[in-house]
Structures are given as C-alpha cells and as structure tokens.
Symmetry: C2
Subunit: 299 residues, 2 copies
C-alpha cells in the first residue's frame, strides 16, 4: 500500500518551507554588521509571502524532467529580487503603501533610506547567489542571471513600475498599454521563474520555451486576479488597504473592464497556460493546480 499523493496545499507548503529554510541559511544573520540593514532585509523577506515565484521555479525544474534541488539557487534569487521590488514599490515616492501582508512596510519600520538600501542589497544578493550557480550545458554559464536581469530591468519589472506610475497621471490608459504594464511588471518575472527552473534542470530549449509561455500567461492572470482582489476584498483578507487602486486612479483591469470581465480574462489566461504544459518530460500536475490557484486565491 502506497501513501496517497500529497495534496496541492501540502506540496505548496513543503516547497515554501524548503525555500524559507534555504533563504534563512543563506542570508546574512541579523546580528552580523550592519545589523540594522540585515534586519531590514530579513523583515521584508520573511513577511509571510506565498513564495509563488520560487515555487514555480522548483516545479518547473521537475516538469522539465530534472531534480528541483538543481533549481534552489535561482528559486532563492527570484524571491530576493521580488522582495526588493515590493520594498521599492511601497516607498512614499512610489505607491506610498504603509501596510503589506498585514504588517507595516519596510520604510515605516526602518525609515526610507534603510528601506531603499535593504532593497538594493537584496537585489545585489540575488545576483550573488546566481553567480555561484552556473547553468548546466547546453546553456551558457551565465544563462540564469541573464534571464533574471532581463526580466527585472528597464524592459522588465523596473520598466513596468515606471509605466505603472506614469499611467496614474493619465486616466485614459488603453488596454494595450495596461497589458504592457502587466507583462513588464509581473509576467516577465513569473515567466523567468519558470524558464530558470527549466534551465537549471538542463531541460531542452523547447521545454524552457513552453514553461516560459506558461509563466507569461500565469503572470498576467496573477496580476488581473490582484486587481480584482484589490477591488473586492476586505482589508483583513488582503493584509493591506483595499480599494486603494481606484482611489489612486490607478490603471487596472477592473477599472477598464469591470470585475466579471476581468475574472473571465484571468480564467482564459489560465486555460492558455495549462495548454502549454502538455507533453513535458516531467510531472506537470502541480503547475496545473498552481495556475488555477492563482485566480481562485483570496489574498
């Protein structure tokens, strides 16, 4: 008699714990100087995040037919990089958010300068981890940091945040422009998470491409679901102020299309994502479930 297969929730929880343990072991200790800066870095990294990006990276390594342990360094790097973007996005000069995941944001706790520096140091640490993790053949050794840098830079997350802020001043944002914001700000990094997992596991180039396309669609769905959650949740569910997007006149799917059409678009993107998983060399069921989770989650 074999044990029953773990549930999706159990898989997510186990992977989350693996990522957290690895991050805890690898990040500078809070006691190590400069202690305040290291405390600020850990405060934001260990703030109860869902670890969606690192889990996608690990699951993509398995779906590519490899061992997920090969993808642990890129998984950690992705979470460090994602955390830096949250810290900087929350700053007074950007989204000016005082709460994240139910706790005061980094600049509220450590001051603005230290928040900026802790983000800078997390971004730098992400690339330090990747420098220690050369990609396996047939990929060039720098393939993993190249993926991350392209996804995160001026034509990725940083550019998306710029466009997002610029759009606030211009109420008539077109659907095309909104989609570009979301592709750059959210989908690019989620796609990179999947590609990096597949590359770290030495998956074939067509496997990397399929998982990247899966991630791109999941990433867009994730952002649309975020817009919907911001419009319909209670503050307790969301861990931050709700309706804040509308108040700010922020361009969102909900503002452009309404809640129901936004939900339908997210579901269609999830279906597209799942279709990309056919014929992969390794197990893809958790990635299917994760894609569905993205649009069904409540925070």
């Amino acid at each position: 008699m074999t044990a029953p297969a773990p549930s999706f929730a159990q898989t997510m929880e186990r992977l989350r714990a693996e990522v957290d343990a690895a991050l805890d072991a690898r990040m500078p200790a809070e006691t190590e100087p400069p202690a305040v800066l290291h405390r600020a870095m850990r405060y934001s990294v260990f703030a109860g995040g869902k670890r969606v990006r690192p889990i996608l990276c690990l699951l993509s390594a398995e779906a590519a037919g490899g061992d997920r342990r090969a993808a642990l360094a890129p998984a950690m790097a992705l979470e460090l990089l994602h955390t830096y973007t949250l810290i900087h996005d929350d700053l007074p000069s950007m989204d000016n958010d005082g709460l994240r995941r139910g706790r005061p944001t980094a600049h509220r706790v450590f001051g603005e300068a230290n928040a900026i520096l802790s983000g800078d140091a997390l971004l730098t640490l992400a690339f330090e981890l990747l420098a220690e993790a050369p990609a396996p053949p047939p990929y060039p050794p720098g393939a993993l940091p190249l993926e991350l840098a392209r996804a995160a830079g001026s034509r990725g997350v940083a550019g998306g945040q710029y466009e997002d802020l610029a759009a606030e001043a211009q109420p008539d944002v077109t659907p095309e422009r909104l989609e570009r914001i979301h592709r750059w700000k959210t989908a690019s990094l989620i796609a990179a998470a999947c590609r990096m997992g597949a590359i770290a596991a030495a998956g074939a180039p067509e496997t990397v491409a399929a998982l990247g396309a899966y991630g791109e669609s999941v990433g867009l769905a994730f952002q649309i679901a975020d817009d919907v959650l911001n419009a319909v949740s209670t503050p307790e569910q969301l861990g931050k102020a709700v309706g804040s997007d509308a108040e700010r006149g922020k361009a969102t799917y909900v503002a452009l299309f309404g809640i129901e059409a936004s939900r339908a678009r997210a579901r269609a993107l999830v279906a597209e994502a799942i279709a990309r998983l056919d014929g992969l060399p390794g197990p893809a069921e958790p990635l299917r479930e994760l894609a569905c989770f993205v649009v069904e989650r409540e925070r």
Copy 2:
C-alpha cells in the same frame, strides 16, 4: 623613429573614451520605451564622470599581462553599478544632494520615483552585462559577478552607505568605524575593479590578490581625498556644494584628523598601493600614476 609614449593624461582620456563608447553602444537608447527611464539612466551615466573604476579595471587587465579588451564588460558593469550608487546616495532620504558634477541630480530632473527606478535598472543592467561575460579558467564562470555583488552588497557599498548615514546621527565616530565605512562604501568597489580586471585577463591568483590590495589602498586614499576636497574646494571646482559634509555633521577624515593629517594619510596609502605593483607580469606604470592622481586631483 618611434612615437613618444602617451602621457598619463592621454592614456586616461583614451580609456575614458573607450568606456564611454562601449556604454553608449550597450545601453538602451533614449527613444526606446520606457523612454523616460532610459533617458534617466543615460543622464546619470553620461554626466562627465572620470570613469576611475572602469579605467582601473582595464589597466589591471593589462598589468596582469592580458589584453584590456577582455575586461571591457566588467569595466562597463563597474561604472553602471557606481552610477546607481550615486543616484541613490543623492536621494532626499539619503544625502539629499541637489547637484552632482555641476548638474542637477537625477531626482531633481526626473522625480524621486524615476531616480530610484533608474538606479535599480542600472544595477540590474550591470549584472546583465556580467552574465554575458563568463570568467576565463582557472576562475569559475561566475567569478566576475561574484566579485561585484560582494563588493556592492550589504557588506560592501550598500552597507557602507547605511553606516555612513547611521554615523551622521552619532557625532563621536571612532577612527576604526570611519575606516570601516570607507572600506565598505568606497574601497571595496575599487578593489573589486582591480580584481575583476585581473580575473577577466586570466591573471594568476597572486596577481589578482596584489591588484586587489592595490585597489583597497587606492580606494581608501580616494575617499580621504574626497573628504579633503569637500572641505577645501570652491563649488566651481567640485561641481556641487562644498563644506556640505561638515554642515551635515558627517563623519570624515578631515573632521577627525584635520586637513594636513588627512592628506598625509592619503599619501601613505598611495605609497602602500604602489608597493603592491612590483613584479606584476604586465605594465603597471599607468596604475602608479593613477594612484598619485587620486590624491592630487582637484575635483
């Protein structure tokens, strides 16, 4: 009849032009979206910097017996990273500087959010360039980004800036603490510049170590010279407000030891640095001259 050897000033100018041309060719165009962000990145990179770090990197490649073209990617990455630190250091929540090199600082021209994002994007681009430049044997392929990340992170430039700001609130900074600030904030990156040049040129490990020690001493001398310049220059010479360190109660060598003792310490460090250059496999004369230039410069 052979042409006379180029003067030090000519060498510096030629290398500066090489670095600038390479950066101009590699950075996103101002017209490419997101255009404002790309304009902000270029505004700060092409602001008349002396290119000390990339030039040290190129000269170190030659001093290690290699071709300086092998060190062009790390040289560019160093300048991009250095520029990001200047943009973030100038922010209102940090040093709150409105002028740099005689021009308004990035946040004065592009706004605070765009300044932060342009710095983030430059830091990311630095690692993108290094991802495309695997180190030659006997070094692991990620040796160059590893050097840069360690020099720039929480126990490097970012940590040094944290300590520098923290020291402003505490007037009784010890000489030991001041030296740690300078080692982290300035010397670590200059030492990394020299080490990276030697690594990119496949220099022997002892050559890398000698050039790193040279860079560490030059870096400390550079920072002390900066403190002296801030205390004695005119605004026209410096391109920014003078005496601003003292006004801010900032911990400096000048505040602790006075101008003459600071100058003497800088000269002693330059002598130490030059002693490290004996017996290198390639030409080291430009590095000797550069070390002297560091303490003799007027801006």
